[in-house]
Subunit: 120 residues, 2 copies
DNA sequence: CTATAGGTTAGACAAGTGTCAAAATAGAGG
DNA sequence: CCTCTATTTTGACACTTGTCTAACCTATAG
């Protein structure tokens, strides 16, 4: 029974419906949600997360947006700092992939208890 | 089978892992995530959502925070405008309750497909 | 070593955000 | 009507954010 109960098996917080968030955790989680709170970043994360290879080259991302390359870079950095994506360089190219654990954490926080239990 | 497939049964978008978000939806969803991207608002939502009565009086919220009443009011307004909470007045008091459908939408977007399926 | 292409960093700037104090609104109860 | 309490609105202000251009790294290819 180590994976159930208040921790909800997600490594961070019980779902909102179950328990109010204490201020410290709220600050933590808010930082991640904030990173998702911009259309460019949300699309970036979406493209990175949905990619069949499990990672995406920045070179394939920039052309999909209306903003300049440094702006993409800026948004990717924010996603990184929020812990939502990881990156590494391979030759000239840089690849980004999602940190799925973090996404699961956020999802679990917002999930209704019955959903969370069903997904246990 | 009306509730499965690409719509993921959540009334909005398929999970990130399944499908990249189109720009229009991304803007929509980003607006909601943005509302969660502040510690005060996240705690407010948490308190509102976790309350056993299913709703909370503003008068019970303000004392739990370090910020002045107008600031709480401001944050509640943002949560309202994001569609995450509803409110109504009863006498002198105003009560807020969560819009659980929206929370489920956000949760589903971030959920890994296997979780989403488990919760189907 | 130089040139070239992919990404990031630095600096600047307009626009947006979170906070407060003061004023305004909405009901309840004289 | 007047007053009191709960909540919201307004206006002001410092701080943060998203965007750009220009400059800078880093690795590959001559």
């Amino acid at each position: 029974m180590a994976a159930d109960g208040a921790s909800s098996g997600q490594g961070c917080c019980a779902p909102l419906e179950t328990l109010p968030l204490d201020p410290a955790h709220a600050t933590n989680m808010a930082k991640m949600f904030k990173a998702l709170g911009d259309p460019v970043r949300l699309r970036l994360l979406s493209l990175i997360t949905a990619h069949p290879d499990g990672e995406v080259c920045v070179c394939d991302l920039t052309s999909l947006f209306d903003v300049a390359a440094p702006t993409i870079s800026y948004h990717l950095k924010l996603l990184r700092e929020a812990g939502l994506v990881e990156h590494d360089r391979r030759g000239t190219w840089v690849y980004y992939r999602p940190v799925r654990e973090r996404l699961r954490q956020l999802s679990a926080l917002l999930a209704a208890p019955d959903m969370a239990e069903a997904a246990r």
